[in-house]
Every structure is written in structure tokens, then in C-alpha cells.
């Protein structure tokens, strides 16, 4: 039951982990039972990835190496899904990024 996983991903989205991207990010994080955290540096501070207030407070712009770690049920799946989301630029095109 003490599964854990960790990964790092480069934020390529124009405005970074921002209003609309962070809505998607936290919603996806919340769909997993595992505890999930993010940080903009390997040594932290770590923020609760399910809290949009905390994720926004991490202020991660484009070009940030985002660290994601999870522990508990489905930890590996959670990390993988979140990394995928960041790599897909949060499923937004450039046009949307403007006003996000």
C-alpha cells in the first residue's frame, strides 16, 4: 500500500502552470486516491497538487522543471497522468493560452 512515484517534467505551455492549466492539473490530481505534491525545485518546498490555491502559489512559469511526487494507491498512475498532461500543454492551443 505504500507505493510511491516521482518524476520531473518541463513546462512548455506559454503561460506556465497557470489559471486554466492549474484547474485541469488539480482536477486530474484529485481523481487519484494517492497523495500528490508538486515543487519547482528538487528540494521543495512541496505543494499539495490537489489544491489549486497551493499550485498557483508555486508560480511555475514556462520553462520550469516541475517536480511531481505521489504516494499511496495509484501513485505511479497519478504521476504519469500529470506528466502527460503537462507534456500535452494541458490540451490547450496557443490561442487559448493567451487568455488563460
Amino acid at each position: 500500500m505504500s507505493a510511491s512515484a516521482e518524476a520531473t517534467v518541463l513546462i512548455t505551455h506559454a503561460v506556465g502552470l497557470h489559471a486554466r492549466p492549474s484547474v485541469k492539473f488539480t482536477k486530474l490530481a484529485k481523481s487519484f486516491a494517492a497523495e500528490v505534491e508538486v515543487a519547482v525545485a528538487a528540494n521543495g518546498p512541496w505543494f499539495d497538487a490537489k489544491s489549486i490555491v497551493k499550485v498557483m502559489a508555486a508560480k511555475a512559469p514556462k520553462g520550469t522543471m516541475l517536480h511531481i511526487r505521489a504516494k499511496g494507491d495509484g501513485a505511479a498512475q497519478a504521476v504519469k497522468a500529470l506528466v502527460d498532461l503537462v507534456q500535452r500543454d494541458f490540451d490547450e492551443d496557443a490561442d487559448h493560452a493567451r487568455s488563460a
Binding site: 506556465g16 489559471a19 486554466r20 492549474s22 484547474v23 490555491v53 508560480k59 494507491d73
Partner: protein, 524 residues
């Protein structure tokens, strides 16, 4: 001047009009920190409710911004510091303003334009809640008032003291909304769909929620006629009450079981257990409210009702969130929530939350005659998965040496797939027809939309045919079948339901007497 509407909860009310849509006032401090905190939580909820309604009409970009606001408001991390400040003596409005201003300062200090720009969003979020908070301080409706407006929030209904009479008159609204359900169960007269024709918003009005209408600025003659109708209604209700203490039987002597639907554990406080055959539906989503309840809270709630019922059965439905019943931190936002992740679908997806409820149910089961049912079952596999989780948690409790019992597990019949092909479900302990959802799915008419309310009838032959075939299946296979939707307590629907073969109905407590009286009139 009389305006016609649709009756949502029968009865009569004569009283001063109270405008539900009046502009906000200023915030009034509460007596204790707990009340201040409750005022803040409720104001946040109100702001989220408003934004959610806006999202539906907004286009892509605007909707994206609104969704961001909603997500921020729903995050406990945003309200946490304000709630803590209230705990140490601040009033809700000042605490919220200070907490948000500090958050806003953080954004303004950012060296990136994008993040700095979010300060405007935070200010918007701050002001939406301040606005909702100041409404909390508005003049309260006088006792016995008729609440009149576009629509009414469930919280407003719950805040109002209905002991002094009064009623609800809505320009829009729906007979299937949660407030309508609550109004029926508390016996509060309510009319919906009155439209925009009314000019007068002050003075005394007469609410006729039996036929569906409201009279503004009534003449003495109208008042006289109205009072006669009201007293005749009261007499009929009084006569029905003589049926209340007797078991329900039809004119030809067929016994019908009549149970009650409840939403809150405290609902049973006002019910004499001798007047019903048990609890046919105990909803659990209201327990979930703003936050997810822990195992102990749930256990105590279930145990209270089981102990009240003694050896009569109590059927508890596992959480039916989603659809028109969002739970922050649990349900997901969807474009078509009635067809989305709700009921058992959501519980199977969020097993961590579901397991907490299962453990509470297994532990409570030793205190009475518990039955558990799953909402929104569409396939047998969902039932099997849910039943397997009960088995798993049962072994876990056994291993821990915790007292528990496995209750009979049944399903709600509300998705047409189950009503059409019940043969897959011969192994479930019982079937309970949820007529509200079954009707909305068969008729493709959302239960919260007044514009299609005329389609939303359980008495449509298609719905009745499905109910009859489920009843027949249960009869043949020895699987008990009951019905727990609003139709069960509707005197106009009861004859058709009994003719369809049902002998077990569950109704709102306020409808027990009228339902038994209606049953006594049927010859089956």
C-alpha cells in the same frame, strides 16, 4: 390579480410577500465565532452556486475564467486562514477580506505579468464572497411570509423558520428541484413557474399551492374564497390523518407497505415510527454537504436512524452525488452531469471515499434492520464491484475485531437499462424503483428544468410499463420490489402505481397520511 403556476408542494399560505431577489444589504456580525464561520462557508457556497450557473451560459474563455474562480473558491486552502482568523475573534467579512488581501499581495509581488494579472481574479473572488456575506445580513423574511422570486436556494429554504406558516412562489423553479422535495417533506406550500407577469411585490398575497397560483393584492371576496379552500384542504388533511396510524390497505383489502424517505438523521425526530413501515430511502448525500464526512460521523448518523426504527427496516442509499447534487472535492464538473459520473459510478471511481461509507454502514448494521442500496446502477458489473467492496471491508473489520454485520445489498432501478433488462439482477437482495430519475431518463426531460416539466410524468405509459415489468420480474423471481420516488406519495399517481403491481411505496413523511388515504381509495 391571480397568476397561474405549477403546484410543487400542496397547501395554502396567506402572508406578506418577501422579495427573494432584493439587492444586497451590509454584513451583520454574528453572535459567535461558529456562526461567523458558518456565515463565511455559506457565503462561499453561494458564490460558487452563482458562478456555476454562469458557466453554463458562458463561452470558452469566459467559462475558463469562471471555472478557475470556482476551483479557487472550492479549495479549503483559500478559506482556511480566514476561518482560523474568525476562530481568534475576527468577524467573517474582515477575516475573509484580510485573508484574500494577503493572497492578492502575493500575486501582485510576482515578477511575471501573467501571475500579477491574477490579482484581479483574486479581487473578484474576494468581492463575490463579500457580496454573498452581506446578503446573509439582509432583513430576514417575516414569519409566515411568502417568499417570492426567480428561484430559491436550498440553503435559504433551510434557514427559514416554517413553523409560523408561509410558502414559496417562484417565477421559474421546478417541481423536481431539491427545494421542492424539501418543501413536500416539511409540508411547506410551494408553487413554481409563475413567470414574469407579476407587478406587485409588496403587501399580502394568497398562495394556492393545491391548484397552483398566487393572488396579489387580493379583494375581500378573494380572501374569503381563499380561506374556504384553505380550510377545506386542512379538513381533508385532517381526515387523512386518521389513516396515519393505521396500516395502509386498499378498498379491496390488499395490504400496502408505506415507508418514509428521509434526507437527514434528524428528520426521524418528527415522525412516529408506528405510522410507517420503516425507512424506504435514507439519502446520504446531504450528510456530505460542504465537506466529506468521516467514518465516525456517518456511523453515528446511520445508527441514530436504525435505533429509531427498532426492528423495522431502514434502507440506506450509498452516496448519490453528482447530477444536480454536487459535492465539493468529490464530484466532477461535467457538461451533462445527469448522464455523467454520478451515483455508483462516482463511488466506484473514488473508492477511498466509498470505502469510508461502507465501513460506517457495516458497523452501523448491528444496531438495527439495515438494508443498503446502490444508486444509478446501469450494469450488473457495477453491483458486483460494489458488493465486492462490501466483502473486502467486511473482512478488514473482521480482521481488526470490529463489531459489524453485512446488510442485504440491493439496487435502485432508475437507469432504463435495468428496468428494461432486470433479468441480470436476479441475485440482488431487493430492487427499489427511483421514479424521479427513471422518469427523467425515459422521457429525456431533465427534472430540474421547468420548461420540460410537462414531459416529466411518471404516469406516461412508457414509464408505467417499465415499472410494471420490474414489479412482475420481482414477483416471479422472489426479489422484493419497492418504489421510493416522489410519485409514491402523489395521490394522483398512487392508483397507477398499485395497478402496475407495486405493494411497497416510500414517501415523504408529510405525505404519509395523504398517501395512505389515497391507497384506501384504490381497488386492487
Amino acid at each position: 390579480m391571480r397568476i397561474e403556476g405549477i403546484p410543487a408542494s400542496p397547501g395554502y399560505a396567506e402572508g406578506p410577500l418577501f422579495d427573494l431577489d432584493q439587492p444586497p444589504g451590509s454584513y451583520k456580525a454574528k453572535a459567535s465565532a461558529e456562526e461567523e464561520q458558518a456565515a463565511l462557508v455559506s457565503a462561499i457556497g453561494k458564490a460558487v452556486g452563482r458562478l456555476t450557473a454562469l458557466v453554463e451560459t458562458a463561452d470558452g474563455d469566459a467559462a475558463g475564467i469562471l471555472e478557475f474562480h470556482i476551483a479557487m473558491l472550492e479549495d479549503d486552502a483559500l478559506s482556511g486562514p480566514a476561518l482560523a482568523a474568525i476562530g481568534s475573534g475576527q468577524p467573517a467579512d474582515a477575516a475573509w477580506r484580510a485573508a484574500l488581501d494577503s493572497e492578492i499581495a502575493g500575486y501582485e509581488a510576482s515578477d511575471q505579468d501573467y501571475f500579477r494579472a491574477r490579482a484581479a481574479d483574486l479581487r473578484d473572488i474576494r468581492d463575490q464572497v463579500l457580496r454573498a456575506l452581506s446578503e446573509e445580513g439582509e432583513a430576514e423574511a417575516p414569519p409566515g411570509a411568502i417568499l417570492y422570486g426567480e428561484d430559491i436556494a436550498p440553503t435559504r429554504f433551510l434557514e427559514t423558520d416554517w413553523n409560523k406558516g408561509g410558502g414559496i412562489a417562484l417565477k421559474r423553479g421546478s417541481t423536481a428541484s431539491h427545494v421542492a422535495m424539501l418543501a413536500r417533506s416539511r409540508g411547506v406550500p410551494m408553487v413554481v413557474g409563475l413567470g414574469d407577469d407579476a407587478q406587485t411585490l409588496t403587501g399580502v398575497a394568497l398562495l394556492d399551492a393545491e391548484r397552483g397560483g398566487i393572488i396579489f393584492s387580493p379583494s375581500p371576496a378573494e380572501v374569503e374564497t381563499f380561506r374556504q379552500s384553505a380550510s377545506s384542504f386542512a379538513d381533508r388533511q385532517g381526515a387523512a390523518r386518521t389513516f396515519l396510524i393505521e396500516p395502509a390497505v386498499t378498498k379491496t383489502g390488499t395490504a400496502v407497505r408505506v415507508q418514509v424517505n428521509i434526507a437527514y438523521p434528524s428528520d426521524v425526530d418528527g415522525i412516529d415510527v408506528a405510522t410507517c413501515d420503516g425507512v424506504g430511502l435514507m439519502r446520504t448525500e446531504f450528510l456530505f454537504g460542504k465537506a466529506l464526512p468521516d467514518e465516525e460521523t456517518q456511523y453515528r448518523a446511520y445508527r441514530k436512524v436504525l435505533e429509531w426504527a427498532g426492528d423495522k427496516p431502514v434502507t440506506i442509499r450509498t452516496v448519490d452525488a453528482g447530477g444536480d447534487k454536487p459535492v465539493p472535492g468529490f464530484t466532477v464538473e461535467e457538461t451533462n452531469p445527469f448522464l455523467g459520473l454520478r451515483g455508483i459510478r462516482l463511488s466506484l471511481k473514488r473508492r477511498d471515499i466509498f470505502r469510508v461509507q461502507i465501513r460506517a454502514l457495516l458497523r452501523a448494521a448491528i444496531h438495527g434492520n439495515l438494508k443498503v442500496m446502490f444508486p444509478m446502477i446501469a450494469t450488473h458489473d457495477e453491483y458486483a464491484q460494489a458488493a465486492a467492496l462490501f466483502a473486502e471491508e467486511q473482512s478488514a473489520l473482521a480482521a481488526e475485531g470490529v463489531a459489524h454485520k453485512l446488510p442485504p445489498l440491493g439496487i435502485m432501478v432508475e437507469v432504463p437499462s435495468v428496468a428494461l433488462a432486470p433479468e441480470d439482477f436476479a441475485d440482488v437482495a431487493f430492487l427499489s424503483i427511483g421514479s424521479n430519475d427513471l422518469t427523467q431518463y425515459v422521457m429525456a426531460a431533465a427534472r430540474d428544468n421547468a420548461a420540460v416539466a410537462h414531459l416529466n410524468s411518471v404516469r406516461h405509459p412508457a414509464v408505467l410499463r417499465l415499472i410494471a415489468s420490474v414489479a412482475a420480474f420481482g414477483q416471479k423471481k422472489g426479489v422484493p420490489v419497492s418504489l421510493c420516488g416522489d410519485a409514491g406519495g402523489d395521490p394522483a399517481a398512487i392508483p397507477a402505481l398499485l395497478e402496475a403491481g407495486l405493494r411497497d411505496l416510500s414517501v415523504a413523511p408529510a405525505q404519509l397520511a395523504m398517501a395512505k388515504a389515497a391507497i384506501a381509495d384504490v381497488s386492487v
